[in-house]
């Protein structure tokens, strides 16, 4: 395959319960310990303090998390923008829905105000599912493809697949890609799981193989394969995800022997157990590193796969022996979607690019 048709990850950022910057997430990853019980908020994330007072009056938490995470991904060391990510760049963001809080607050006004239309028009866009992605584009001047994707817990992997397809189709060269989930009372009404709820946003920068070095960036990982399938009940997760994993290895002409890390996105429920079983079936216990995004940051639902992805990329970046090995990211959604990504870790030499 020609270099331009191959997709690499050349950067990542995360705002997580570990803290407001990627370094906090990396430190939490090293530490490996979850702190405290109960819901896992991003500490000190006040929209106007993080993003300033200008243009933030109507920004909801979900949108602000995405805008700030994209900002960190784009931030260069000199305080300006990183090189080679111009206004024609794209953005793909995964989400289960828009902010549950924004949507429910808006709907509540239609029941409780004097007139059903006595709603706040400035907050109307917050109730539409593309709000966070579109506001990222406005904030950061990204005029390329701007797409919101939704596949439940697998939204982060669906976003990566969509971004790779955009790249292969020549629709964008460089794409910011990730997923977001906020924590609110409204969300806790909608979801209850075995793990405490968590929140945050995780993003990666994707571009063609060979391009990052021209702009002074390392190639952290190459996306070798992304595979998806469907289960129809919890007992079907194991075979559906197992089939995806086998297809991923076959597509990439790789074997499970070279897997250095596996990162899953599920929790200790029947779906997460199916996820674990599929990983055991196909990869066994070969991988020295095993990460679970829900153990790290809580149950971040729509962002859980994006956090799993960023976790392996961040972990590999500070582990020299990971270079040249592969990593697997998996996700299972209770509504049917299963998916996995197979990555090759570390920078490529010129000899690899043929």
């Amino acid at each position: 395959m020609k270099p331009a048709a191959r997709t690499v990850i050349s950067g990542w950022s995360a705002i997580s319960p570990f803290g407001l910057v990627g370094a906090d997430f990396a430190a939490g990853l090293r530490d490996g310990q979850r702190h405290g019980e109960g819901p896992r908020h991003v500490p000190d994330f006040e929209v106007r303090e993080v993003l300033g007072r200008k243009g933030t009056r109507s920004l909801d938490r979900q949108t602000a998390l995405a805008v700030a995470t994209a900002g960190q991904l784009l931030a260069g060391q000199d305080g300006g923008r990183i090189d080679g990510v111009g206004p024609e760049s794209g953005l793909v963001l995964g989400t289960v829905t828009a902010s549950a809080l924004s949507m429910m607050d808006f709907a509540r006004d239609t029941f409780t105000q004097d007139k059903p239309y006595h709603v706040d028009p400035a907050r109307f866009p917050n109730t539409v599912l593309n709000c966070a992605a579109a506001r990222c584009a406005i904030w950061h001047e990204l005029r390329g493809p701007n797409t919101t994707v939704s596949a439940g817990r697998a939204s982060g992997l669906a976003a990566l697949n969509y971004a790779r397809r955009l790249r292969r189709s020549g629709r964008a060269d460089v794409i910011l890609c990730g997923a977001v989930e906020e924590l609110s009372q409204a969300r806790s009404w909608l979801e209850s799981g075995a793990e405490p709820l968590g929140e945050g946003c995780a993003m990666v920068l994707v571009e063609p193989l060979g391009r990052p070095s021209a702009h002074g960036r390392a190639e952290l990982a190459e996306v070798l394969a992304l595979e998806f399938g469907l289960h129809s009940e919890p007992s079907g997760v194991r075979s559906a995800l197992g089939a995806c994993l086998r297809r991923a290895f076959a597509t990439a002409d790789e074997t499970p022997d070279r897997v250095w890390a596996v990162a899953s996105s599920g929790g200790p429920d029947p779906f997460g157990k199916g996820e674990d079983a599929a990983i055991a079936d196909v990869i066994g216990d070969r991988a020295p590193v095993r990460l679970r995004s829900s153990e790290l940051v809580g149950d971040t639902n729509g962002a859980s796969a994006a956090f799993a992805l960023v976790a392996v990329v961040a972990k590999a970046a500070e582990t020299p022996q990971a270079r040249g090995h592969t990593a697997v990211v998996t996700s299972v959604d209770r509504d049917g979607v299963v998916g996995c990504a197979l990555l090759r870790l570390g920078s490529h030499t010129a000899a690899d690019v043929t």
Binding site: E88, N130, A137, Y162, S169, D173
Partner: protein, 420 residues
């Protein structure tokens, strides 16, 4: 201006990949359920506008919308229980089943082939959230039904299609990019098939009318009292709509191999973002999206036989869109129609329904009208095919979609010809 999409990637012109053809259509609309009803509605210029019945509208001075009535989800579900799905998922599942049937396929025919389910939406299952909020307002949060809460994931609009059809070797993704979502979802399918990533795709859009849509657009002053009049001098805004439009796409070789009827070929697509204003469209950016789509299709503006406009009939949209069209097509642009005059704005389903209208126009040889038209707005200056469909033989058709957030997506369809 046609600057390259990408500075150093090798852009794949549409002609370089596999050819992608439309072989099945499924429609749930306010002017009828099923392709035949929809076609006769478009030809006759039928309006789907009527008083809202899906939820109480006390307090509004006017509450007309293009609602889907007489829809029986059970008719289209052999495996799923309709009661477990929100209304938008019911629409997408039913329209997908219809598209498959229309293509002469059954679900077992698709087993063993890797496919894509790609469904766009604006609101996902927001209507289900309305019900939860009503329960909370009347009885407190503990009264919220967890079974309804389970339906809120927008990903269900596509996952439910796969589950009903019993397909396991598919990528099921929902594209909730607001009111351009239908085109986004079809464009995603186009790219996947063209590149050989999927052998077939079930793609389109679905949305269910909800309280928020009516309240929000009414509050913005964007809602017309009784009828939708795109490009009219005295237009008063949009009418909300609902429904689903789903296409079965496959690569030409597989369509040929099974002797499928081909409605049309998808030959180009583009998407971009204004990155400008949360709700107001940007003329230069909309024009650029059209240019990118024409470039992707490898056609020149003068080859386009008609444009299916986004055409919401709001003051802002119609002038900006018409000017963007003139910016790309010059002083004598092709006929530019808005099927929203008949269907209302079915949000995430809108551009999918319009794309189906384009495919039918190509197959059946007509251009659908823009109804409720009295006097063209001089600021719009386009021939909107007022009130009555015309007989024609459109070969290349452009389908526009714009969305909140400045998300634009343009699809180019063509009559299928063996040697394109």
């Amino acid at each position: 201006m046609l600057t390259a999409v990408a500075d150093d990637s090798e852009q794949l012109p549409a002609s370089a990949g596999r050819r992608v053809v439309v072989t099945g259509l499924g429609v749930i609309s306010s002017v009828g359920v099923g392709v035949a009803e929809f076609l006769s509605g478009l030809r006759a210029g039928r309006s789907g506008a009527k008083p809202i019945t899906g939820f109480p509208t006390d307090g509004y001075d006017h509450a007309i919308a293009c609602e889907v009535v007489d829809f029986d989800p059970a008719r289209w579900m052999a495996h799923l229980d309709p009661a477990e799905l929100g209304r938008a998922s019911q629409f997408s599942v039913a329209a997908a089943g219809m598209a498959l049937e229309d293509a002469g396929l059954t679900a077992p025919d698709l087993l063993g082939r890797h496919g894509l389910i790609s469904i766009g939406t604006t609101n996902g299952e927001t209507r289900e959230l309305d019900r939860l909020v009503e329960q909370e307002v009347t009885g407190g949060p503990e009264r919220m039904d967890p079974a309804i809460a389970r339906r809120v994931n927008a990903g269900r609009l596509s996952a439910a299609v796969a589950r009903e059809l019993g397909l396991t070797d598919v990528e099921a993704v929902t594209i909730p990019t607001a009111c351009a979502a239908g085109n986004y979802a079809i464009g995603n399918a186009f790219d996947a098939i063209r590149a050989g990533e999927a052998a077939f795709a079930v793609c389109g859009g679905a949305d269910a009318l909800c309280r928020k849509t009516i309240a929000g657009f009414y509050r913005l002053g964007a809602m017309a009292p009784d009828r939708c009049q795109p490009f009219d001098k005295n237009r008063q805004g949009m009418l909300a709509g609902e429904g689903a439009g789903v296409m079965l796409l496959e690569d030409l070789a597989s369509a040929r191999a099974r002797g499928a009827r081909i409605y049309a070929e998808i030959i180009g697509f583009a998407l971009n973002c204004d990155a400008d204003h949360p709700v107001a469209p940007n003329q230069d950016s909309v024009a650029r999206c059209m240019e990118l789509a024409l470039h992707n299709a490898g056609v020149k503006p003068d080859q386009v036989d008609f444009i299916s406009a986004h055409g919401t009939a709001t003051r802002a949209n119609d002038v900006v869109e018409a000017r963007a069209i003139r910016q790309v097509f010059g002083p004598a642009p092709p006929r530019t129609v808005s099927v929203k005059s008949m269907l209302g704005h079915a949000l995430g389903a809108a551009s999918a329904l319009a794309a189906i209208g384009c495919a039918l126009a190509i197959t059946e040889g007509f251009i659908p009208p823009t109804i409720n038209h009295v006097e063209t707005d001089p600021e719009c200056e386009i021939d909107c095919v007022p009130n009555t469909a015309i007989e024609a033989s459109p070969r290349i058709v452009q389908n526009n979609a714009l969305a909140f957030g400045g998300n634009n997506a343009v699809l180019i369809l063509s009559k299928f010809e063996e040697h394109a």
